[in-house]
């Protein structure tokens, strides 16, 4: 997967952050609980930012190194793409 791709949510998929800060991905007839790092990455998905942009944002905000963040984010997006929750354009 090239990290120049721009991820966006598929139809019928949205991120929901509750008052207590916990996040889930709402999908047709389901809800997927997200851990803090997945939630932070998905909060940056808007169909405009590339994977590179998202990784840069995460590295600026959290104490993670670039390679690790890139691997995690790419793996997460690929899993969601396979389940047709994310489109990469």
């Amino acid at each position: 997967m090239t990290t120049a791709l721009r991820p966006g949510f598929e139809r019928g998929v949205r991120l929901r952050t509750a008052d207590d800060g916990t996040a889930m991905l709402l999908v047709p007839e389901g809800a997927i609980k997200l851990n803090a790092s997945a939630a932070a990455a998905l909060a940056l998905v808007d169909g405009e930012r590339s994977i590179d942009d998202i990784v840069a944002h995460l590295c600026a905000r959290f104490d993670v190194d670039d390679a690790r963040a890139r691997d995690d984010v790419t793996a997460l997006f690929e899993r969601l793409r396979m389940r047709r929750m994310l489109v990469l354009a």
């Binding site: 598929e10 139809r11 929901r16 509750a18 809800a31 396979m82 389940r83 047709r84």
Partner: protein, 363 residues
Amino acid sequence: MTTDVRPLSLLCELTYRCNLQCPYCYNPLDLDGYRDEIDTATWQRVIGEAADMGIVQLGFSGGEPTLRRDLSALVRTAAARGLYTNLITQGTFLDAARLAELVDAGLDHIQISLQAPERELADEIAGTVVHERKLEAIARVQNSPIALTLNCVLHRNNHDSIAAVIDLAASFGVRKLELANVQFYGWAYRNRGGLMPTREQVAHGLEVATAAKRRYAGRMEIVYVLPDYFEDRPKACMHGWGRAFMTVAPNGRAMPCPGAATITSLSFENVRDRGLAAIWNGSAAFTAYRGTAWMPDPCRSCDRREIDWGGCRCQAFALTGNGAAVDPACALSPDHDVIVALRETGSRHPTLVPRRMREATPA
């Protein structure tokens, strides 16, 4: 009494009216008993209460929910509270105007059910001419901003068409296809002898679905739901009784699952009389089988007790007369032979009774 388990999902069964007559319908036999439907304002109050409780998923089903003129208004109420909205429909009323109304109201997802991939068989199962209109609705939703899932209930008379169902779904480019073997509630329970797939059909279906799953990976998600009667451990019905789901029937009766009214030893409260949260926390029907304290042996000491929560209460009641019995679908149940015997009804061919509003003699 309060509980720390909180529901995630509410199914609003808006009406049991329907223009189709599927013999596998899970609606109750006494459809006439549900004609006194709760009104728009009551549904809106219930939806608000659901949001307050932290429910995130809302389903609108039936019967055929689009027969309620206020459907879009209810979707709008739910969307305004941030709830995710699903419409479960057979699609025959989804013309361009109705769909536009639902898009505008903020509907997130539509599930359309197909009876079969071929017109003749589909119309025969539905008991009326509907197939072409359904295909038009599928295409229309695919071209809208709303996510689409196709669903086909599998039973003896359409099981052999499974490959054609998959081809049809792929030709529309749908994102998800559910191939669900019939579950025996309501009319389906009454017709179980004629609906039960054969062991060969189930094995073949699983093989075809598994191959297709691989072929379409990343393009179309395919889910094949095995029939309970063919496995030796039960499913985690509703993720456990009173743990994640609530259903409100057309007449306002609040239940832990859509089939719960068949457990005639329980009494249910009505949203006309009491708030949703109070019913969830305190109503006898919700607390009856919540958690593990009610369990008999061998569930009580079984290491799967918090995985399947003892299986399906409705099935336990239907087959043993005791809602607190071990689900007979479990091979460890003392009543498992009832299930084994039922599998064999797949070799007989009784006539199917089409679902109808006026049913003189319930089985």
